[in-house]
């Protein structure tokens, strides 16, 4: 093994979520434990007509400048979050060596509304009506590309497309880029914005979404016995990662350490989790092992917790087997819904905030833990408890499993 400095810190965070587009509002929303799901005009009349949307923020104004016309919504979300994260890290693209800065932004689907719009124009009015920008706007790597342009980041850039594990996978890749010396700074996270009638209906048709149309705010209920599917959301979150030695050298601030990561693939089924979650568990165990911890040293679990019957049963089993010491569990999707590729990044940010603030947000809509697993789920109120270590899980269609292990700075 080559000797590399594996110690990596989170030095900046940015987020644009249904619960808030700045750290304080986002955190207050998580701690309030109330779902942000509501009916969406664009989804009226469809089998599932509600979602968790980013509202109350003029994205074009927040992005600013002259280039918004060429950006799909997921790119704007990513760019706003990335700028927040870099500013939070106390870094300036005007001053850094852009050749040493990497960008890794996970996106699951990309600019599907751009594609749909173009398909309709082609059918209705012919080739001349198709935007020459259709392809560069819709490709999932547009977020990484535009963020790199905005930040002058000329190191490696990537766009992992591992569905709902994309955001966490991007952060794991970011750590590798630092640990192998390919970058000095990595801007990593995930973004997704597909609250379109076609995509929401497609998820509904496959049975993945909650059908609780009479009570949208009660629909996302991770780990509840009567959960019936996830609530789709949109958003972005981005972290800035640096080697701790570099952070110290520049007098920067470590918000948490990204102590380990683990990734596995079920190799089992396109959408269903693998039997018993043993392969997903191996990803979590790998992250804990890389962090140098015993499983019983894990102080908190930020669960994937989608509110689907299959995921939550699999994940509850995984947690109770690997962590029988019952660390407190939360699941942010109760509040922000399932933001797909952004989810792992949003949950990474939430996990860092828990380590910093000594507070674990409650799981929305979970009154009691009724099924057969012995989990310590945080319910109803935020729990004041200083934890030193935490893991965050992400599992995606395709069988992708990623776990991130964070330590308090």
């Amino acid at each position: 093994m080559t000797q590399v400095d594996m110690s990596v810190a989170v030095t900046g965070m940015g987020m644009v979520t249904p619960a808030g587009a700045d750290e304080e509002t986002f955190w207050a929303g998580l701690c309030a434990g109330r779902s942000t799901a509501r009916r969406q005009d664009e989804l009226a009349g469809l089998p599932v007509d509600f979602a968790c949307a980013v509202e109350g923020l003029d994205l074009d104004e927040a992005v600013g400048g002259r280039s918004v016309w060429r950006m799909a919504r997921f790119v704007k979300l990513a760019l706003i979050a990335a700028r927040q994260a870099v500013a939070d890290a106390g870094l300036s693209p005007a001053e850094w060596d852009g050749g040493r800065v990497g960008v890794v932004l996970g996106v699951g689907v990309g600019g599907v509304s751009v594609l749909i719009d173009g398909a309709r124009k082609l059918d209705a009015r012919g080739p001349d009506a198709v935007s020459p920008l259709l392809v560069p706007m819709m490709i999932p790597n547009a977020a990484a590309g535009e963020v790199a342009i905005a930040l002058g980041a000329r190191g490696p850039s990537m766009a992992p497309a591992t569905a709902c594990a994309s955001g966490a996978g991007a952060i794991a890749l970011g750590r590798d880029l630092l640990a192998t010396g390919q970058c000095d700074v990595v801007v990593a996270g995930g973004a997704e914005a597909v609250l379109t009638p076609l995509v929401v209906t497609a998820f509904a048709r496959m049975g993945a979404l909650s059908r609780r149309t009479a009570d949208p705010a009660g629909a996302s209920r991770p780990f509840a016995a009567d959960r019936d599917g996830f609530v789709i959301g949109e958003g972005a979150a981005v972290v800035v990662l640096e080697r701790t030695a570099d952070v110290r050298a520049r007098g920067g601030r470590s918000r948490a350490l990204l102590a380990g990561t683990g990734s596995t693939t079920d190799a089992y089924h396109p959408t269903a989790p693998g039997p018993n979650g043993t392969v997903a568990q191996a990803a979590v165990a790998a992250a804990v092992h890389q962090a140098g911890w015993r499983p019983d040293e894990v102080g908190h679990v930020n669960a994937h917790g989608t509110s689907t019957p299959l995921n939550d049963a699999m994940e509850a089993g995984l947690i109770s087997r690997l962590f029988p010491h019952r660390p407190p569990v939360t699941a942010p999707k109760g509040v922000v819904g399932h933001t797909l590729a952004a989810a792992g990044a949003i949950e990474a940010v939430a996990t860092v905030l828990t380590l910093e603030r000594g507070v674990i947000p409650p799981i929305a809509n979970l009154d009691a833990l009724p099924f057969d697993y012995d989990l310590d789920c945080v319910t109803k109120e935020p729990r004041v408890q200083q934890v030193e270590t935490a893991v965050s899980h992400s599992f995606g269609f395709g069988g992708h499993n990623v776990a991130l292990a964070f330590r308090r700075a």
Partner: protein
């Protein structure tokens, strides 16, 4: 020519965020920092709203807004191209 076709200013300011004060008859797409992709998209929008077909590279890329306005006005009046 002092008055530009109103659609030109509308598209440039609203879609491409060109500052209104920069939109003058002698401005060119280049002087407005409209790159080739932006000019191509401009042509699609003009076609969509006014029915005017144009090869963006030939007719819009290096022309002044006055020339573009005259072309669009003439083409729209003569019932397209």
């Amino acid at each position: 020519m002092n008055t530009l076709h109103p659609k030109i200013a509308e598209v440039l300011t609203q879609t491409f965020k060109v500052p209104a004060e920069d939109i003058r008859p002698d401005s060119t797409m280049d002087s407005l920092e409209m790159d080739s992709l932006a000019v191509a998209e401009f042509a699609v929008i003009i076609k969509e709203h006014l029915g005017v077909d144009a090869d963006a590279d030939k007719l819009y890329k290096d022309a002044t807004l006055a020339e573009i306005s005259a072309f669009i006005g003439g083409a729209a009046m003569s019932g397209r191209r």
